[in-house]
Subunit: 481 residues, 2 copies
């Protein structure tokens, strides 16, 4: 086995007290610009064997701590991007280290089960103490998978099987059994999943067919002929454009109903993100989502809420769709990212196929990730991190309002009362690139989305003191150039 070298020892030394004191008081800049020379060299070497075209910098995770990510050159950046919104509790969190070192974790890693055939005796407990304890209101069942794409695709499969079994009288027909082997109807479904313009639901073939974010995500890949509906384009600040935005949302709902009524193919499910993240951090109001829920119910269509990026506390609720006050819950809610585990929740037992081996694959999830999710959930609850994220988010939003008021580079600040799930638009893609790079060189790691948006995705442990550092650097970078 490889032996731990010096920096690894930090992991062993960490405990709850030392963890927080190990966070630097401010970003540490060891090289002039980021990526630094070591990061560049390591990335060039990696590129010999692995697609590294999208690399921002090479990270040193052993020396990252809390809200600070270390790069290979020893720069320590305040991270408000967090591995594309997937680090819930900071780097090297001691509670997660404890979970990772547990015998349960070790056993789950070395004895990975085919969960649907030989489930481990403690899997239900792990789920009930973690992922299921966190289930959205109205949901008490789960299917586990491996990524956001996988979560959405298994939810789509559940939707197709559900809709067909509702139509089917009795057993599969001979024609179904034979046509499906030719990839043809009636055995292969001609039903569709409807998604929204600018949505992102993943990059495998089914999920990519519902993704409408950017051409580069989709080019040259075959896609199912599935429909899309318009997503509201809101104007900001919201209080100034209340009437206009309402009309925009009403028109989108009208168009959605028209698409549903005129679809030549049955729509098995509508999938929607609470905030369209990759597509530009596009928000809609509760009114719109309530309308989507009503229309789907009225037309016998399942509603899948994709909380892969919005879930697990960052919006000031555990699940973003809890902001909507729906009369009846979504049919399925998918998750991944901050939970490290992935899958979907549901309440209606008919969403589980009657026959075995239909919703099935070798692993059906990964207990090691479910154990990690349990530790994440416990820490979120015990430290009341959803509420603290809501509070820090409000503080951050006000600070950003002040900056936006001082510059014509930024508009459309959004995400008020939505925790730290905040974004704004830049006046051009070029301005955005300069601001992001400028912040990076000053010690803040930040990410974009859509054509001109910057999105914030800090950890749930992001505090006012971090917000202050971030706001100062952002203001400096924005106003000084």
């Amino acid at each position: 086995m490889l032996r731990a070298t010096k920096p690894y020892h930090r992991l062993i030394r960490f405990n709850s007290t030392k963890y927080f004191s190990a966070e630097p008081k401010a970003p540490i800049l060891a090289t002039g610009a980021i990526p630094g020379p070591k990061s560049k060299q390591l990335n060039q070497e990696l590129g010999q064997v692995y697609d590294n075209g999208a690399t921002y910098f090479v990270a040193d995770y052993f020396n990252s701590v809390g809200n600070y990510i270390s790069d290979a050159d020893g720069n320590k950046l305040l991270d408000v991007y967090c591995q594309i919104s997937s680090i819930p509790l900071g780097y090297n969190n001691p509670k997660l280290i404890e979970a990772a070192r547990s015998d349960e974790m070790v056993s789950s890693i070395v004895n990975r089960p085919a969960l649907a055939c030989f489930p481990q005796s403690n899997y239900k407990d792990i789920l009930e103490q973690g992922l299921l304890a966190a289930a959205p209101p109205g949901m008490n069942k789960i299917w586990t998978s491996l990524s956001g794409s996988d979560a959405n695709e298994t939810a789509y499969k559940a939707a197709f099987m559900y809709q067909h079994s509702k139509l089917r009288k009795g057993e599969f027909t001979q024609e179904e059994l034979s046509s499906v082997m030719e990839n043809k109807a009636p055995g292969a479904s001609e039903m569709v999943i409807l998604s929204f313009e600018k949505s992102f639901h993943g990059r495998l073939f089914g999920s990519l067919s519902t993704t409408r974010s950017k051409a580069i995500h989709k080019l040259d890949i075959p896609a199912f002929p599935w429909p899309k509906a318009p997503f509201p384009k809101l104007k900001y600040p919201l209080n100034e454009f209340e009437a206009e935005n309402r009309i925009e949302e009403e028109e989108c709902l009208k168009e959605l109903e028209s698409i549903i009524e005129n679809s030549s193919k049955q729509i098995a499910a509508v999938v929607v993100e609470p905030v369209q993240s990759e597509g530009g951090d596009n928000h809609a109001s509760s009114f719109f989502f309530q309308g989507v829920r009503e229309l789907t119910k009225k037309h016998g269509i399942l509603l899948i809420v994709d909380e892969v990026q919005t879930g697990v506390g960052a919006t000031g609720k555990f699940w973003a769709h809890q902001h909507w006050n729906l009369d009846s819950p979504p049919d399925m809610v998918t998750f991944s990212k901050k939970f490290q585990a992935a899958g979907f929740y549901f309440g209606n037992p008919d969403l589980q196929p009657k026959q075995p081996f239909r919703q099935f694959n070798t692993w059906c999830g990964d207990p090691s990730k479910a154990i990690l999710a349990r530790a994440i959930y416990k820490e979120i609850v015990e430290s009341d991190l959803v509420n603290s994220t809501a509070k820090v988010g409000d503080y951050l939003f006000k600070g950003l309002q002040t900056i936006v008021a001082k510059t014509d580079k930024f508009t459309n600040l959004r995400g008020e009362n939505f925790g730290t799930f905040i974004a704004w638009d830049c006046s051009s893609a070029d301005v955005r690139a300069k601001v992001i790079q400028g912040c990076k060189d000053r010690g803040v790691n930040m990410g974009g989305c859509g054509d001109v948006a910057i999105r914030l995705r800090p950890t749930l442990l992001f505090e006012k003191k971090h917000a202050d550092i971030f706001l100062n650097i952002l203001e400096d970078v924005t106003l000084s150039s």
Copy 2:
């Protein structure tokens, strides 16, 4: 945190010596029939929250060891199914426990990176010492993913992007950029992937479109209109049907070429398993696979070899396609299962898209699984497990020949000189069910595939002594009922 209860302590005590001595000398039967009462009860409870329709029994992985899987009732079964062929080195392998306890592993679990944006500084080393050290001849690059389905789908995406970029003069056209957002050609590809009858390549929407194993795997799920070609149906024993089998394979190759020549859509890639596992453990000869390689080269089609189930040593070569002695290597080889990690290998740098963010997703693999794969690879090499699997496989095959000769329940014994990757057909599905259940009740956990086949998938640490136990029980069960 949950504290380890009694059985967990075993994990800590294990070391290389104790590990092997901890294997029981023979199966231990604690209950009359399997599943036992505790297993049944736990499974019923699990079913309240999780689809448990396919459960065989509930396992106790803490008390499983080496080639023996323990169920919740304390039965210890000799496992020749191994989590659908995905346990390489037995349960609670001390070398893997050591890797799972390492600081590198702990850091990878708690600091899971978005690999394509912020790769960790040691990712190239982890790959080069593990997954890439194991790369098939002619391949020196890798893309990492999360499961077999995911591995195949990312390989398909690479194939589509490659073929389109070969046809494209210069940049994407406006028509491509706009049509793809409507899921339409020319931006969305109309090219196809060709697979073979009875093949299995996964269950997500793209991979499922190439899967042709069983209707129940595919029913009610939309599929791309992709073509299939016949796979040889060989007769056994091979030495008796040499001429007939050659004609069968020649006809399949002729039909494949005819499908290629008459396809109205360009075939981007052909995907093939060295042994069609889920579809019934169907073998073909090197002659057939050489022919497939020749035809694909001749017609500018990429060849993807799906080694998700056949890879990592069980066939007596590290990669099953090494049995074929190809003149030129496949274009991509996909892997998962026994490597715990997943992905595909390739050699041609053009299989990596020129633009970033095309072969891309949040995680792009999982370093914790790559670390595990490295430990698996090292142990396989250091203990010469591929050669020992070849030897044990020969011994096992001879023993099975003796049993098959004594009964009319079994035919078509196959997998000679193919390590422990051995299978045979039962005279009916009913006979198969009885034999598998009979063996389970006598302490052997075994799996089926296809309509009437039983497939063997023991660990790479399966020895002659295990083969003797297995053969005795199988013979008893088969001949006594």
